[in-house]
């Protein structure tokens, strides 16, 4: 190959690359769509597609003996889910647990986050952040089983409470709320901590200069500024609790939540369509919650 040919080729190549880049430069939309194609495809295939498949499956039925899914359209599953008292009771119980877990977590998280963001020195703050993140490194199952041991009738809690005449709650809904609140606490502390860091100290000083006591400052200055963080935190604890079925299996005694109904429908009954119908309940609930939150504008300022 002669020198001139090589030069000519690289000129062609350069001009091709040049043309591509100039086209992309001129067409902002093309540039953007190329950039987004891969992640969007991923999102659509893995997420939207799976949700739609779930939705569609809920309308099918199962042959009770051979456990084969039959693709006949029927509203029976959804009708059962909406009219059967079992599903109503369990849905209400699950939502109740999710709300209580969220409330407990928020009440616990606020003072801790406030201390970290406004009072603790830099060194202590760093150590506290690590301490809060540390439990996330341990397996979820290990933590749930640890609570099983703690809440047992010859467990740590009983031993601690016996001198003051209180008994351990044992396994049941209280145990589920305690365990879930513990499990999701880091997810609640972190957004609130970040939110509090953004609240400027000058605002707190101004409030106290104007004669507001500490509690009034928190109620009328800090909390309103913190609403987006509280909403973000509540989304975590609420949705994580809504979908859980393992904790309730370990410490819940004889009670069941929505996740358990999905689990038995898949695992024991082999009824995927029914499981899909039940799984729609938390999805609809979360969808409603997110829409309500969006209206308040909290999502934009996350």
């Amino acid at each position: 190959m002669t020198d001139s040919m090589v030069r000519a080729r690289s000129a062609v190549r350069a001009s091709f690359a040049h043309r591509v880049s100039s086209t992309l430069f001129k067409r902002a939309k093309l540039r953007l769509s190329l950039l987004l194609a891969a992640p969007l495809l991923w999102l659509v295939l893995i997420y939207v597609f799976a949700l739609l498949a779930l939705l569609v499956t809920a309308f099918w039925t199962v042959d009770s003996f051979t456990s084969q899914v039959k693709m006949e359209w029927s509203f029976n599953n959804l009708q059962t889910v909406f009219t059967n008292s079992l599903y109503r009771t369990v849905t209400l119980r699950t939502v109740g647990i999710a709300i209580l877990v969220t409330v407990v977590d928020l009440v616990l998280a606020f003072p801790i986050s406030f201390f970290m963001a406004k009072i603790a020195g830099k060194r202590l703050r760093g150590m506290l952040v690590i301490a809060i993140l540390m439990p996330l490194w341990a397996s979820y199952l290990v933590k749930a089983y640890a609570w099983r041991a703690v809440l047992s009738h010859d467990g740590l809690l009983q031993w601690l409470l016996a001198p003051i005449g209180v008994e351990t709650p044992g396994y049941g809904l209280t145990a589920v709320i305690l365990t879930q609140a513990y499990l999701w606490l880091p997810y609640v502390i972190l957004p609130i901590f970040t939110g509090l860091e953004k609240v400027q100290n000058s605002l707190l000083e101004a409030s106290s200069d104007l004669g507001a006591r500490n509690l009034v400052t928190i109620r009328r200055v800090v909390l309103p500024l913190l609403v987006p963080s509280i909403v973000a935190a509540s989304i975590f604890s609420f949705s994580l609790t809504l979908g859980d079925y393992i904790t309730v299996n370990i410490v819940g005694g004889a009670s069941q939540m929505l996740g358990n109904l999905v689990y038995t429908n898949v695992g024991a009954a082999n009824n995927l369509p029914m499981a899909a119908a039940v799984a729609l309940i938390p999805i609809v609930l979360m969808f409603g919650y997110l829409t309500a939150v969006r209206r308040t504008g909290a999502l934009e300022s996350l």
Partner: protein, 388 residues
């Protein structure tokens, strides 16, 4: 071309349907006739079974009865374990397995769907030594054809803490009508099949209901069992399906009375101070069978495995490791001392009190033709309602 949102979503739903259709469609199995003559080993065998049913030493170097089989027959074994009978059915349907060890709540469904083939037991020499009360039973034989050879069997017993439950119970009534005495500390097995335990109790205590077989319940009988279980539910501390969970609950005293397996009783510490009994009403239990896939390419290896697992030494190793009774009296000399006694192996009177797990189906298993019985899916719905 511009796609509107509606068109786009229609496209997605269509595609989603197509995808799920692929996922759920499965080939129809054909009914095969049984083998007449054993041929050469194919060199490969793929097994499916409960955990601990085919150990090759990879979990515990001391526990290995697969390697001797491989050396003797030249069949290289791969083993996959499952957690529930329903999971087993789904795995077996993939067609990747030559043989399966299934409990009675799965065997009938396997036979009905044509997934397993009838066996020629004359090609399985060690089948002769199997206890006769395990042969030709509803869960391994249909229309006179044998589809499975036994692996091991056991009963769901009543376990109680000796220092709390006094006097020592001899009847299931302590977890049913009398369960309020131990409110919050009663435990029960967490599966729809537990409804049969209530039915066994009702057979003895409410003869007017006319239950002849705890797995053949008509609507009225199922309702009676459900009512009994709902009243029990008020006193249940927790349900168990993971046997480690039951052990921890009895060790800590959170559970004091409820159903158990022999292997759990054997694993309890002396400190826990538990006793166990096969109550006077009888009990539910399991009798697992090895079955051969109808479309297997390794039928000779599969037959040799069936023969091997029923041979005394291998059967002793497998059943003692899992914690159940062996299927042949000759196995007793190979187990550790007291092995056969602790599982009541070969005790026909004990075995007669066991109602082995069977899939409840619409056609009544007790022979009644004037009513429809409730099937397993009805039991599952009922079980969810019982737990509430």
């Amino acid at each position: 071309m511009k796609l509107t949102a509606t068109k786009l979503s229609a496209l997605f739903i269509g595609a989603a349907m197509a995808l799920s259709a692929c996922a759920t469609a499965s080939p129809q199995a054909t009914t095969a006739s049984s083998l007449t003559k054993l041929g050469k080993s194919e060199g490969k065998l793929s097994l499916l079974g409960w955990p601990g049913y085919a150990e090759d030493g990879s979990n515990d170097p001391k526990v290995d009865w697969v390697t001797p089989f491989e050396k003797a027959t030249g069949c290289q074994v791969t083993f996959k374990s499952y957690g529930t009978s329903d999971e087993a059915l789904n795995l077996f349907k993939t067609g990747n397995y030559d043989a399966i060890a299934a409990s009675g709540d799965a065997t009938l469904r396997l036979i009905a769907s044509g997934a397993v083939q009838p066996l020629n037991t004359s090609l399985i020499p060690s089948y002769k030594g199997v206890y006769s009360f395990l042969k030709n039973r509803a869960w391994n034989t249909v229309d006179g054809k044998t589809y499975g050879v036994p692996h091991g069997y056991g009963a769901n017993l009543l376990m109680y803490k000796k220092d709390v439950v006094k006097p020592a119970p001899t009847s299931w009534s302590v977890v049913f009508d009398g369960s309020s005495a131990y409110k919050g500390h009663v435990t029960a097995y967490d599966s729809p099949i537990y409804i049969a335990d209530a039915a066994v109790y009702l057979m003895a205590h409410k003869p007017a209901l006319g239950i002849k077989n705890p797995y053949a319940l008509d609507d009225k009988q199922l309702q009676a069992a459900v009512d009994l279980l709902k009243s029990q539910r008020a006193n249940v501390g927790e349900y168990w399906s993971d046997y480690l969970k039951e052990i921890s609950a009895f060790e800590s005293g959170d559970s004091v009375v409820g159903t158990t397996w022999q292997v759990i009783v054997n694993s309890m510490s002396a400190k826990a101070n538990v006793g166990s009994v096969l109550p006077s009403e009888g009990a539910t239990g399991w009798s697992d069978s090895w079955m051969v896939a109808s479309n297997t390419k390794h039928v000779n290896c599969a037959y040799q495995w069936l023969d091997y697992i029923d041979s005394p030494k291998a059967n002793a190793a497998a059943t003692e490791y899992f914690g159940e009774a062996p299927v042949t009296a000759d196995a007793c000399q190979y187990g550790s001392a007291g092995f056969c006694d602790s599982y009541h192996a070969g005790d026909a009177k004990y075995a007669a009190k066991i109602w082995y797990w069977t899939t409840p189906i619409a056609k009544c298993l007790d022979g009644r033709t004037d009513v429809q019985c409730t099937d397993y899916s009805a039991w599952t719905t009922a079980w969810q309602e019982i737990k509430g």
